[in-house]
């Protein structure tokens, strides 16, 4: 990190951590959601941004994390922390068992296989008794938004530190090499299968923890919302909007898009979703390498930046 960045990040962190003390309840609740989404975007960043595998299966990890907490707390009456650990174990098991065959697929095929897995998991969980079938589970309530907020922020910090380490470690270089050219990585000694599965599992750990925290916060889970594919699409949009394969891009993407969508739904309730779609389309066309890249290069190129992006990707 450059000299100026460290203090900037620390100040941002202190401000974020202080929000529950000066912000309204609504702001804190918005914050919990936005921070958890940022964790999900960072989780996706590991498998999608760094390794180049467009996973639509991260909502499965999120769902397993939610149900880990739900089942542990409701059915077995265990503490929250044990539930989180249970969700993480489920996610890692899923990442290894299904990651090994599915990560052999490339490009769109991987994306669709994970999409299908997410559908299968929704349907399976809807039929599992201990998970409350399609009715869901009601968790014991805990009215402590301060705790949930700081937990979410803490998790985001851990996820970001992990990715920072990734960006300058041998492991991270292996993942980037796989993204850039998988066969080339293999002949240079990267154990591609192991690395992909590890990245998938690591990505799953963060998604599961976010799911677990969210489940306890909202005190209700059901298969439809826990394994919601559109949540996965959100992670991708946020990561890609901010800048996939960068340390801070997905956070910027998640926080700014959460703010935009919150603003839209309060100002123009009925067509907020429409605007969200338009923002996504415009972002892909005008800044395909994400917000981080735009902020970096807009200063030197100015408005030409957008024209050059279009020129680079159009037919």
């Amino acid at each position: 990190m450059k000299a100026l960045q460290i203090p900037a990040v620390l100040i941002a962190l202190i401000v974020l951590a202080a929000v529950p003390w000066f912000g309204s309840d609504v702001l804190v609740q918005f914050g919990i959601n936005a921070l958890l989404l940022a964790v999900l975007a960072q989780g996706w960043n590991i498998i999608g941004g760094y390794t180049g595998y467009a996973s639509f299966g991260n909502s499965v990890f999120y769902g397993l994390g939610s149900y880990g907490v739900g089942i542990a707390m409701v059915q077995w009456e265990l503490p929250f922390a044990v539930g989180l650990a249970f969700g993480v174990v489920l996610s890692v098991a899923f990442a290894i068992l299904l990651g090994i065959p599915v990560l052999r697929l490339k490009g769109h095929y991987f994306a669709i296989a994970t999409l299908a897995l997410a559908q299968v998991m929704t349907a399976i969980v809807s039929n599992v008794k201990i998970a409350g079938q399609n009715i869901g589970l009601v968790l014991p309530p805990l009215n402590n938004d301060l705790l949930f907020y700081e937990l979410a922020l803490g998790l985001l910090v851990v996820a970001t530190l992990t990715i920072y380490w990734l960006s300058r470690s041998r492991f991270g270089f292996g993942l980037i090499a796989i993204r850039e050219n998988e066969e080339g990585a293999a002949v240079m000694g990267v154990n591609t299968t192991l690395y992909k599965v590890l990245a998938f599992a690591l990505s799953g750990v963060f998604s599961a923890l976010a799911g677990g925290i969210h489940a306890y916060w909202v005190t209700f889970i059901d298969p439809e919302s826990a394994f919601d594919i559109s949540l996965n699409v959100k992670m991708i949009i946020m990561a890609v909007f901010g800048g996939p394969g960068t340390v801070f891009g997905p956070i910027i993407g998640a926080l700014s898009l959460s703010a935009i969508s919150e603003f839209l739904s309060s100002e123009i309730t009925s067509i907020a979703g429409l605007f969200f779609g338009v923002v996504v389309v415009a972002a892909v066309v005008l800044m395909p390498r994400g917000l981080a890249d735009m902020l970096r290069r807009f200063r030197t190129t100015g408005w030409r930046y957008f024209a050059e992006n279009i020129k680079a990707t159009r037919l």
Partner: protein
Amino acid sequence: MSAILEIKNVTRRFSGLVAVNDVSFDLQPKEILGIIGPNGAGKTTLISLISGTLPPSSGDILFEGKSIANMPAYQRARLGIGRTFQIMRPFPGLSVLDNVAVGALFGRGGGNAELARARELARAQLDFVGLGKNVDQRADELGGPGRKRLELAKALAMQPKVLLCDEVMAGLNLVEIDEVIDVIRKVRNEGISVLVIEHVIKAIKSLSDRLLVLHHGEKIADGDPETVLANQAVVEAYLGKRRA
């Protein structure tokens, strides 16, 4: 001295088509072995079989006396087999330096765990192949000749015992070819065995200790370059039978 690499009756078929047919040869320590052959003779397939990106349909491949035919590519790389690609495939979004650093991080024996040390080694390797000025460029900004050198530097950064070069001279001008030949000779002098696949016969003739000719996936000649190039079957394979 025993061979470092032994290819034993290796065959590779692609749904009916035989790309490499019952080929056997060996590579001695510190030897430069040239392999030539017309287009479609199976040269690149052979390199892929040795480096592990393709499994052989039958036959065996020994490295330092042990079979590697069923080993995944990354394990062969860690044993000390480095290769370049004819269709150059750098890691396009990474800098030239980091492209090579990947080799130093993961190469023979599992490479170096330290990123800073790997970059240091990469820098030295880039100086060695003459790309010292381009370290900070993105790999996909390099021109054709630059990419050829980058391919070499990436493979060399793995500290291989055997270097497999797939047409590293194609598309280069005469001066550049001489520079690459010079690099390969230096590599050999450091104790690395080199297998060179090439189209440019003149270059490979002066470079190789021994020359092997593939035609339609089969070995049709193997011996010292002068004799092989005078061989009637080789001449016919290259120029076609003279019309009567």
